[in-house]
């Protein structure tokens, strides 16, 4: 199937004035032509299919919002090309706008003074939504959220959560093939986050809408995305499904063991002593394998790479030497995988 969004070798450069320091410097800058080129997005390519939910991740300043601006037609790439629904967004911004919905967390696009339903009615006219489609959409919405409590309240009086909810509903109103959600759950409480995620998921399923989600909340990613794209310093460093991501580091398991009947009363010294002796024990047994040992929550944590040693073998080794009162194994979370990628910032294929 032909992808709905094609991003081909897109690069975006900005010209930035090299600023000198101090007052004298800023006066000098007024006449300076000393520009440097900053590459915000560096040769990024991706194809996105209809109905996908793609998590677009990266640390602050990685070039996420620049890419989104190019896909929504607000910015023109320095080189490369983008096609969204068969339209080149930056050449035909208004035409492209008909095919997309955009939500910026904390920046409501609804009319501040109007009740949400009035905003929706105006949007219906702006996007030329047919009466029947509009009615069906509102009906669908009312099965997904409690519309009565929010629709007749001016946007200005809404809580941040309600406002975000309305913004998301508004962005799907004209049934666009693609919706961009930029940090939709920022600043929301846990219950509201869950509600928003549920809503996005249902709308995506119901309307087969492609969703491009940028977020720093790994909860959003875990709940919604099948595929994630990570960019750092303008370069794409990861583009694959989420299982594959955990697979990259998924061989890692965290083994936590409690070596005392009552772990709460352990002193720091005792814990550190345990840490060292466990660490020594592991090094004796597997001299070639690096197994970081740490103290967490008064327990000894061992990060085991299953590609080299089985967790069970490690447990046995520890149990031979110590009495283990409690233990549990956890998979590495998406959050820590992403953190590892950001920290390492190495290219992962």
């Amino acid at each position: 199937m032909e992808p709905i969004i094609q991003v081909n070798n897109v690069t975006k450069e900005f010209k930035v004035l090299n600023r000198s320091e101090g007052l004298k410097g800023s006066i000098k800058d007024l006449f300076s032509h000393d520009y440097k080129i900053v590459r915000a997005v560096d040769n990024v390519s991706m194809d996105i299919g209809q109905g996908e939910i793609v998590g677009y991740l990266g640390p602050n300043g990685a070039g996420k919002s620049t890419t989104i601006k190019m896909m929504t037609g607000v910015l023109k790439p320095t080189s490369g090309s983008i096609i969204c629904n068969g339209v080149v967004p930056y050449d035909k911004r208004t035409l492209n706008a008909q095919n997309i919905g955009v939500v910026f967390g904390q920046r409501s696009q609804l009319w501040w003074a109007l009740p949400a339903i009035e905003s929706f009615n105006i949007l219906k006219d702006i996007y030329l939504v047919e009466d029947k489609d509009y009615k069906d959409m509102l009906e669908l919405y009312s099965t997904l959220v409690d519309m009565d409590s929010i629709m007749h309240k001016p946007v200005r009086q809404m809580s941040l959560g309600q406002r975000t909810l309305c913004d998301i509903l508004a962005s799907f109103l004209h049934n666009p093939p693609v919706v961009f959600l930029d940090e939709p759950t920022i600043g929301l409480d846990v219950a509201m986050k869950a509600k928003i995620r549920e809503l996005v998921k249902m709308l995506n399923k119901e309307k087969n809408t492609t969703v491009i989600l940028t977020t720093h909340d790994m909860g959003d990613v875990d709940a919604l995305c099948e595929r994630i794209v990570i960019i750092d310093k303008g370069k794409k460093i990861y583009d694959n499904d989420i299982e594959h991501l955990t697979g990259l580091f998924g061989a890692y398991r965290t083994l936590s063991v409690s070596l005392s009947k009552n772990k709460e009363i352990l002193t720091k010294e005792e814990l550190e002593q345990m840490e060292t002796s466990v660490s020594n024990l592991l090094r004796e047994q597997w001299p070639d394998v690096d197994m970081p040992v740490s103290i967490e929550d008064n327990e000894i944590q061992i990060l085991v790479n299953e590609a080299f040693t089985g967790v069970v073998k490690v447990i046995n080794a520890v149990q031979d030497k110590y009495k283990v009162y409690d233990m549990h194994i956890t998979e590495i979370s998406t959050e820590s995988v992403i953190r590892k990628i950001y920290d390492g910032s190495k290219i992962v294929k």
């Binding site: 629904n85 208004t94 035409l95 696009q109």
Partner: protein
């Protein structure tokens, strides 16, 4: 792809004037409705606006108690010009008032939210606010004009009425153009408030006959910042029908050209601003 063909079809049929009028009236109808719900706020600011204009007229009148005329212009003629600027400023005040907020939304980065709708960016931004208080200006302005018209014993005929109405239309384009240009300065420079207040000061000069200014200023106020077309030139067709300056007949040209330039500058600023935003 099927979806894109469909949306292109709807997109091409929607661009008409009717579409824009419909959207505009829907938005402002809602806006006025919500504003009127704050009744006391609305009434107090309406009174404030009328008082501001009334006090200026009063000081005008006081000055003329001592000078019977300024360079051949008597009080009623000056009052006519003053009323003319007020009427010509009404569309800018009512429909383009959001220009005053542009600086703030650009600064906060909120401006980008206007870029995602399938409508003209300039239109969409301006449609957000309709300042109904501007009607106060219209009311005061028309009163001044009717009063001085009467006192000057100007003939009331079809020709002068038509000239007056056309004068209002094109003079208001100049007022809007200057406001657009001043507000779009925020796309290019950081602290642009002084440009906006400068434009207000300029508008203040528009109520004087251009003949009282010296040569250089006369040139600037005619061709560079054409405030002479906000009241003086279009009014001359009615005030001195026997002695109309040639430039009066160029009022439509100046109005349309300056409005067009201001629109282009505004749009260019808006789109280039997004390049560096965030």
């Amino acid at each position: 792809m099927e979806t894109s063909d469909m949306s292109m079809k709807t997109a091409s049929k929607r661009r008409g004037l009717r579409y824009y009028f419909n959207i505009y009236f829907r938005i402002i109808a809602q806006d006025i409705k919500s504003k009127l719900s704050y009744r006391s706020d609305f009434i107090i600011s309406l009174i404030g606006m009328i008082l501001t204009d009334a006090v200026e007229i009063l000081s005008f009148w006081l000055v003329f108690q001592n000078f019977p005329s300024v360079k051949g212009w008597n009080f009623y003629e000056m009052l006519f010009l003053y009323g003319f600027t007020l009427v010509a400023s009404t569309p800018a005040q009512c429909m383009f008032d959001n220009n005053w907020n542009l600086r703030l939304v650009v600064y906060s980065g909120d401006f980008i939210k206007y870029c995602f709708r399938p409508v003209n960016l300039f239109f969409y931004f301006m449609s957000e606010i309709f300042d109904i208080k501007g009607v106060g200006k219209l009311f005061v302005g028309l009163s001044c004009i009717v009063y001085s018209w009467n006192k000057l014993a100007l003939p009331v005929n079809f020709k002068s009425l038509v000239l007056l109405i056309f004068g209002f239309v094109f003079a208001s384009l100049i007022v809007i153009a200057i406001l657009n240009l001043a507000s779009s300065a925020c796309f290019f420079i950081m602290n642009s408030f002084f440009v906006l207040s400068l434009s207000n000061t300029l508008r203040g000069y528009a109520r004087y006959p251009i003949t009282i200014f010296s040569g250089a200023l006369k040139f600037v106020f005619t061709f560079i910042a054409p405030i002479a077309f906000m009241a003086y030139y279009p009014s001359m067709a009615v005030l001195r029908p026997d002695n109309v300056p040639v430039l009066t007949w160029f009022t439509p040209v100046f109005g349309i050209v300056f409005f067009y330039i201001s629109y282009k500058v505004w749009m260019k600023g808006a789109l280039s601003y997004n390049g560096t935003g965030n």
